[in-house]
């Protein structure tokens, strides 16, 4: 009964995901061992549709030029497309183009806030509030900031399922100047209840930075509705190229902050001893921008918008639900799934372990069948230690993931169980 139910749904839904897969050339090639590529590591980086790859190609073949200062034709075209891409990405998260700073990735975006806002505003004993499930990129910059300023770190705890425990939030927010947290956790997929957290942080006088690396690709993000002060994300996790990311910052904050990286293009006037700076967002963009990748990020956003974030989310919930079910079938072999296990409360990310087999070995065995998953600490070492895990295996999904992919994962895990005799 339930099997039938699933296979029906599979047909309906896989057809759409299958259509989408046709736009992703990487799925056309078999692996070196002649297997179908089963890519379950989109939380690390997503694959790219043809249109994004072609945007890069066209840029370099037809109108590559340095932007902003060129008076000639291709420089004008490059500038126009570059700023149009900024406008698209800004629209995607519902902010003004002037509030959208290009960075190379989420990590740089968070560092920008920590250095530019942090050094100018934090004093000894001020509190920086994080959560126990943050990615290193949303932890180490704050540790270094704390060391530079004498500020102290506090952490919103997570329960054993990886869900934030908000009981003590007001106490934790006492003395807090800035709260920085993931919108969606990258190890367990937990979605943070930002709509409950942000107003309380603001009430306590803290700014809120959201690490959207795992959210912007999958959920419909509206920074105005969220009311956050900063929002950071990376193109490469959302169908765009490597080397480009973005930081949303509230206009008034961006205006009041000193610059971070400095040099060409971010200035207004320069004398030998002194410089004045351009308006945001350019004030924070020093040196030659990553023009090609920014424009291609715009194309990725257009593709995602065309598919529709609502469809993406529904699709990922279906796949997650199916994967949770397939993994549950392996429980007798010692498979343990971590995290909330509720597709409504998590992104398309599942961490697990298979009996006493180490996640690395499991991933290697899956690789021989073309199944790509991640194994290790997922850049959340403190969370791993807190949970008492050496490493986990992690499968993550995106709009091109099919139930066939999940079946391949389950088959690979059965094989691993056989090899490890569990």
């Amino acid at each position: 009964m339930s099997t039938l139910h699933f296979s029906e749904r599979q047909t309906r839904q896989s057809r759409t995901a299958l259509e989408i897969r046709n736009d992703f050339p990487i799925f056309e090639r078999p692996t070196a061992r002649g297997k179908r590529l089963v890519y379950l590591d989109s939380a690390a980086t997503s694959q790219k549709p043809n249109c994004v790859i072609e945007t890069l190609d066209t840029y370099y073949r037809e109108y590559n030029a340095n932007i902003h200062r060129g008076v000639y034709e291709i420089a004008a075209l490059a500038t126009e497309r570059f700023e149009a891409a900024r406008a698209s990405v800004a629209r995607f998260v519902n902010c003004a183009p002037g509030e959208l700073v290009w960075t190379k990735n989420t990590t740089e975006a968070i560092n920008l806030v920590a250095y530019a806002w942090g050094d100018a505003n934090l004093r000894a004993k001020d509190v920086i509030l994080l959560t126990e499930m943050e990615h290193h990129s949303n932890l180490v910059p704050w540790q270094l900031l704390a060391r530079r300023t004498g500020a102290v770190l506090r952490f919103i705890p997570v329960d054993p399922r990886g869900v934030l425990v908000l009981d003590d939030l007001d106490r934790l927010l006492d003395g807090c100047k800035i709260l920085s947290l993931a919108h969606v956790g990258n190890t367990l997929g937990t979605i943070s209840p930002l709509e409950r957290i942000i107003p309380r942080a603001h009430a306590a006088g803290a700014l809120v930075v959201v690490d959207g690396a795992q959210a912007a690709p999958h959920l419909s993000v509206d920074v105005a509705a969220l009311g956050c002060d900063f929002y950071a994300f990376s193109a490469h996790k959302m169908l765009g190229p490597t080397g480009i990311g973005a930081l949303y910052g509230r206009r008034a904050l961006l205006e009041s902050m000193p610059p971070f990286l400095s040099g060409g293009d971010m200035i207004r006037t320069v004398e030998y001893e002194h410089a004045t700076f351009n308006d945001p967002p350019w004030k924070f963009e020093a040196g030659t921008s990553n023009v090609a990748d920014a424009i291609a990020f715009g194309t990725a956003i257009a593709y995602l918008t065309d598919v529709g974030l609502a469809w993406v989310r529904e699709h990922e919930k279906r796949i997650t639900r199916y994967a949770l079910q397939r993994l549950a079938e392996l429980e007798p072999r010692g498979l343990v799934v971590y995290g909330p296990k509720d597709p409504e409360r998590m992104g398309g990310v599942i961490s697990f372990n298979l009996a006493d087999a180490h996640a690395h070995d499991v991933a290697s065995i899956l690789d021989t069948d073309g199944v790509c998953i991640r194994a290790g600490h997922h850049c959340t070492m403190p969370l791993m230690q807190r949970m008492g895990w050496i490493a986990t295996a992690r499968a993550s999904f995106y709009l091109y993931t099919t139930e066939d992919d999940v079946d391949a994962l389950a088959a690979g895990l059965e094989k691993a169980a056989r090899i490890f005799k569990v």
């Binding site: 180490h358 290697s364 690789d367 290790g376 600490h377 070492m381 050496i390 090899i419 490890f420 005799k421």
Partner: protein, 130 residues
């Protein structure tokens, strides 16, 4: 790669030889694989002539790193520190007896790196990058 998970590898993984700590080691070293966070510690008992008399390893990790370390400890007793310091990655690869993919090389070499660090007295290079 399936190859790798032969019975004797799994046996070393589940029943590591010379596992634990020495009560009074002459030298100790510990390191981790920065890629996955797996850690290994090696305790050596070295006599006045610089000969390894006893060895224990501890830590947690994948089958490849654990089995490699376990097998390595078996071949180390009776060697001089100089000999240990000069051990090459081939020593590990011969032990494990089958091919290791480049992505897992650091796992296989973790035990050796820690062992050599103990013998040299400072951090050794990754044996696969020498």
């Amino acid at each position: 790669m399936d190859d790798f998970y032969r019975d004797y590898i799994l046996d070393h993984y589940r029943n590591p030889r010379n596992f634990g700590r020495l009560e009074a080691p002459t030298v100790t070293a510990e390191d981790l694989n920065p890629l996955c966070g797996d850690r290994i510690r090696m305790d050596l008992l070295v006599d006045a002539d610089g000969i390894v008399r006893d060895v224990r390893f501890s830590g947690k990790g994948c089958a490849i790193s654990q089995a490699s370390a376990s097998m390595l400890t078996q071949s180390v007793i009776g060697k001089s520190l100089e000999e240990v310091a000069k051990l090459r990655k081939e020593a590990v690869l011969e032990n494990v007896g089958i091919g290791i993919s480049p992505t897992r090389m650091k796992c296989a070499m973790l035990g050796l790196r820690v062992l050599k660090s103990a013998a040299i007295g400072s951090l050794a290079a990754w044996p696969d990058e020498e």
